[in-house]
């Protein structure tokens, strides 16, 4: 059997991240096409339950359980994953394009002397059995299909919210293999002193199904409460434009756009923002876009499916109310 398809299983607060679940679904499809096993990699401390959860999707789960792995440290994770890959020769290695993966996997690719494609919007197996990854260039103004002919594994990081989730429960009964952590301490040069993260009430923008974003048309920070109310009703995450972040109304973590986050929700509601190109680059792969703006010339209307021409301060409370009624009916 040729080398397996590996999925890096990212988890946070005791839960497998959604982008990983997407890849377990996509990875199963790819593994079937090339005729090999689907393997999940789980690194962490005291996350046995997650190993069992992954085994429902994968043929095999490699589980490293060590206090050293509780916090992400690129020096430790790099040695661990690259070390096993050197032994097992997977042919494909996939992860979501998260902060962690984008920090780690370029380095893994360098260590294994192979290629990596980042922020991919599609993956498929070509006629010659190679992984064809579609990745955006120039902020999505062009797309490129890329392959890696020689190096193995073929590594790709995919944009969260790109693939459908697999069935809620997988029907696989994969084996969980516990692997001892073997790290050369001399090669651990970074020391992670602290991880600061408030408990998240809402999904991160990159993984949110629905996003409501406000621009400078919101007029002041306090008015974002209108978007918070709408987000509550929709189970959405609130985003902001560069102008809003630069004005200090919202943190950079909330920024959607070329110098912020790139998002791909199923519904994106853009309110009081003109649709500057650097913003559009961060949200143009959203499935459905609704915009509310009082300027009929605003470019955002060119990037929207549904447009409401009107005053957001009038429209937003009505929209929240109407959605509450609609969704409340269940």
């Amino acid at each position: 059997m040729t080398g397996a398809v590996w999925i890096f299983a990212e988890h946070q607060d005791g839960t497998i991240r959604k982008t990983t679940l997407e890849l377990l679904g996509k990875g199963r499809e790819l593994a079937g096409q090339v005729g090999t096993d689907l393997v999940a990699l789980l690194l962490g401390s005291g996350v046995d339950g997650l190993a069992q959860e992954l085994a429902a999707y994968a043929d095999k789960v490699y589980h490293w359980d060590d206090p050293l792995l509780e916090r992400y440290n690129s020096d430790v994770y790099l040695q661990t994953i690259a070390g096993l890959a050197e032994k097992e020769n997977p042919q494909i290695l996939l992860a979501g394009a998260t902060f962690l993966a984008r920090d780690l996997f370029p380095r893994v690719a360098g260590r294994l002397k192979t290629g990596i494609a980042v922020d991919c919007l599609n993956l498929e197996v070509g006629d010659d059995g190679l992984l064809v990854a579609r990745r955006p260039l120039f902020g999505g103004k062009a797309l490129a299909d890329v392959i890696c002919r020689q190096g193995r594994p073929q590594i790709a990081l995919t944009r969260p919210n790109t693939f459908p989730l697999p069935d809620t429960k997988g029907d696989s009964t994969g084996a969980v293999l516990t692997v001892d952590l073997a790290v050369d301490p001399a090669q651990v040069r970074l020391e992670v002193l602290e991880v600061v993260r408030a408990p998240q009430e809402r999904l991160d923008l990159t993984e949110a199904e629905i996003i409501v974003t406000g621009g400078r048309g919101m007029k002041e920070a306090a008015n974002f409460q209108l978007l918070e109310d709408l987000a509550d009703v929709l189970g959405a995450t609130v985003g902001a434009t560069r102008g809003v972040v630069d004005s200090g109304w919202r943190p950079h973590d909330d920024q959607v756009g070329k110098s912020g986050k790139t998002v791909s929700p199923k519904l994106y509601i853009a309110v009081g923002l003109s649709g500057a190109i650097h913003h559009v680059m961060g949200m143009d792969t959203s499935k459905v876009v609704v915009t509310v703006n009082k300027d009929p010339q605003a470019p955002i209307f060119q990037y929207a499916d549904y447009g409401i021409l009107g005053d957001l301060f009038e429209v937003l409370p009505l929209l929240t109310e109407a959605l509450q009624k609609e969704l409340g009916k269940g």
């Binding site: 920090d103 797309l143 992670v192 600061v196 629905i210």
Partner: protein, 265 residues
Amino acid sequence: MDVNIVVLVKQVPDSEAMVQVKADGSGVEVEDRYALNFFDALAVEEALRIKEQVGEGTVTVVTLGTQKSLEALRTGIAMGADEAVLLEDPAFVGGDEYATAKALAAAVKGIEWDVILCGKEAFDDSSGIVGPLVAEFLGIPHITTVVKVDLSPKERTVIVEREIEGGKEVIKATFPVLLAAQKGLNEPRVPPVTGVMKAMRTEIKKLDGAAIGLSQDEVGKGGSQEEILRYHRPPQRPPVTMIQGEAGDAVKQVVTLLKEEAKVL
């Protein structure tokens, strides 16, 4: 106790530049509107602040490219960098991030440095691969999406804050280390007029493949891992449906459309 810094930079099309995919998918045409990459300007700024804090040291900006890339170096010099290096060789053309990082790492070996700074990604390919790869090829640790740098020149250490989803990591590293700048790290200075004049006078060091000790098959297409098969235009969204009527009606209509037509509720 000086601290020497290398900053990896890139001249990229600005976000407003027109990009047209050729009809046969063989390439792209990009409007001639280039500037120093946004995140790289943050890296240059941080290098200058470190130098100002420490009082001693050299800031060297390095890029791989063509004559067009000289502008990125001149911007770096105009902001206050001391030296500039252009890696230029016809053999470099068509290389991917892997080949580019190989060449940058080889060139950096010939420079004295304690810290390497770069942007977290370039505006054109947005992959963010080159920085970590350079660190790998040099055998030094790296930290990406850096939003705060607290450097102790005497201890030869740095404590950085790195952005993650909804929070941050605080990481300590000892020199040498590579740091990739994220938005929020600083506000890059506007080059002063004297700086711009200095940039025009400063001699830029040029190195080709032989000068950095790499053979032809280690650079450019031959030294690459990734190959672009074809380009595509992004899918076009159908024309917008404008919802007419007063606010109350418009809102009802859009909720119905989202439920029944778009099926996203």
